[in-house]
Symmetry: C2
Subunit: 356 residues, 2 copies
Amino acid sequence: MERTPKLTPAETTKTDVVIIGAGPVGLFAVFQCGMAGLRCHVIDTLAQIGGQCTALYPEKPIYDIPGFPQISAADLITNLTAQARPFDPIYHLSQSVCALRKGRRSRWSLLTSAGQQFDAGAVIIAAGVGAFAPRRPPLDGIETYESLGPGRGVNYWVREREPYRGKRVVIAGGGDSAVDWALNLADLAKSVTLVHRRARFRAHEASLDQLRRAVDGAHIDLVVPYQLAGLIGGPDDLTAVIVEDLDGDSRHLPADVLLSFFGLSQKLGPINDWGLEIDKKRIGIDPTTAQTNLPGIYAIGDIAGYPHKQKLILTGFSEAAFAAEAAHGHIHPDRPLRFQHSTSKGVPVPTLVGRS
Amino acid sequence: MERTPKLTPAETTKTDVVIIGAGPVGLFAVFQCGMAGLRCHVIDTLAQIGGQCTALYPEKPIYDIPGFPQISAADLITNLTAQARPFDPIYHLSQSVCALRKGRRSRWSLLTSAGQQFDAGAVIIAAGVGAFAPRRPPLDGIETYESLGPGRGVNYWVREREPYRGKRVVIAGGGDSAVDWALNLADLAKSVTLVHRRARFRAHEASLDQLRRAVDGAHIDLVVPYQLAGLIGGPDDLTAVIVEDLDGDSRHLPADVLLSFFGLSQKLGPINDWGLEIDKKRIGIDPTTAQTNLPGIYAIGDIAGYPHKQKLILTGFSEAAFAAEAAHGHIHPDRPLRFQHSTSKGVPVPTLVGRS
């Protein structure tokens, strides 16, 4: 998906802010920057807006966004995109930032893998966990089964439920994704078998209660403590998953699809090389300005770290507000940002007159 | 509305957390505490939930809540109340906290003006600007006109637009409220006259553009620089507002209603007496734990202060998440709160199985 950077970029785009990452927090940063009068370009490695929300779990309900007792990840992204739209952000997708260098004065110069060059007053890094890939279980020939598509072979995430209808689904993993999807597909699939190498699951208490009821009601088969040992099938389909207990005794679980939930391996990639202070894959920031150790570079959302940091989308939103104000101060040190009460702000479209 | 505290309170209610203030931020604190397994009682001086959102501007659109390109203050409160509901908060309205004292061990003891007593593991102060009242312009006999109801006499806020239909409306003030309501009522009222003692308004740039267009289009009469000098009318109605320029020359503006927007006078009241560090009517907190100088007492939202604080509902929401985690640590120092990714949290209602 990524192209090699051109040696001689055609043109440099000058802008107030470049936002790295078009996930929910990056999108809300567009809105907050817009409210501060700053124009934004947004760069993302994925081919579409929304980060993990769109790529990994669009149908998953989210419960902890203030004001939404429940919202799907996809709907949240739709709303945030609409909220950012009045500020005319320009999205540059399917490319990553491969170089970030100090520019003239206190500006920054960026080069993307698609050969685009930017001259930015400030940079807001909202890159989540960085480029992410599912952790692949070490099974012989697993590659063969990875390309069969949703509901067939080996899948690492569920984008929609329908492809799993009537299928024999084996789910491997012990965390929230494994438990939630086992519950979620139980009424749709022909069978759901949940495999974990321990008897205990690391999932939310309410989900575990539901899991117990589903197992008691024979809606879900629990195969614990077992781990994945092999895959059986032809070139075009999976037929069974082999699992082994701790003594090496094995079982064959008939299966059309293995859903493997062993988390994501995270790669910060080039972000490591920009001179930012990084600890445990998090960029250190001042929590009330989102300022990194480099002036004019801000980090927000899951990629940002500070004491007591909570990895919630909500805290990322709040960090976006801090970053926008700080970026405004960096770009216009002589022009104070008038303090605005949240309820008295307007957006730059005529919505006040004549509304009912 | 407030009753004198009884000398011998009947019974003490024991709870994990008492939240002072049932505005948007206090409501979201119920949700965040609930997610951390903490039960909450919520106390508010107003007779209904929602704080200023409900009492002062229920119909006002808010633009900067993440995920809502636009939402009315009333709808936001409805949603937040629904989001808090699964955690069974108990609301104690029409009463204020008149005493807060150290209890046994590291707990806190509270007494309300209705004579209720609480024994709480932690206290979260989400009291906004404290008890609030509109600033009253110094006009002879103004009290007479204050009780005539919406759209008549002197009003300090607009709860709904309808009572202003066909009325001669004089609006006084130079901030967002004055400008926004002038624009908002222009198509509904018989006439809208905007009075300000300066020629310049302290309102959002986009609103000012609209104001200029509305004045040019003769939808709004601008009377500047003038200030309020008197009211003319009978016992049951206002007929005119007298204004004066800087030279003392006066004009009579025919009016059915004067909308007076000179801000709110804020009273922290008893909160001043609890030993909290307060600077400029804000309680000082650690921005990533919401911890005040008193262990087990947290402050969030507009009443909380720290360097670079932004007075947004959003930042209050984020502070609620910090406070809930810190309160959990204070109440259960031996029981770590399992880190939960925002999208894998569930609420304690069976919503996962069988959803479509």
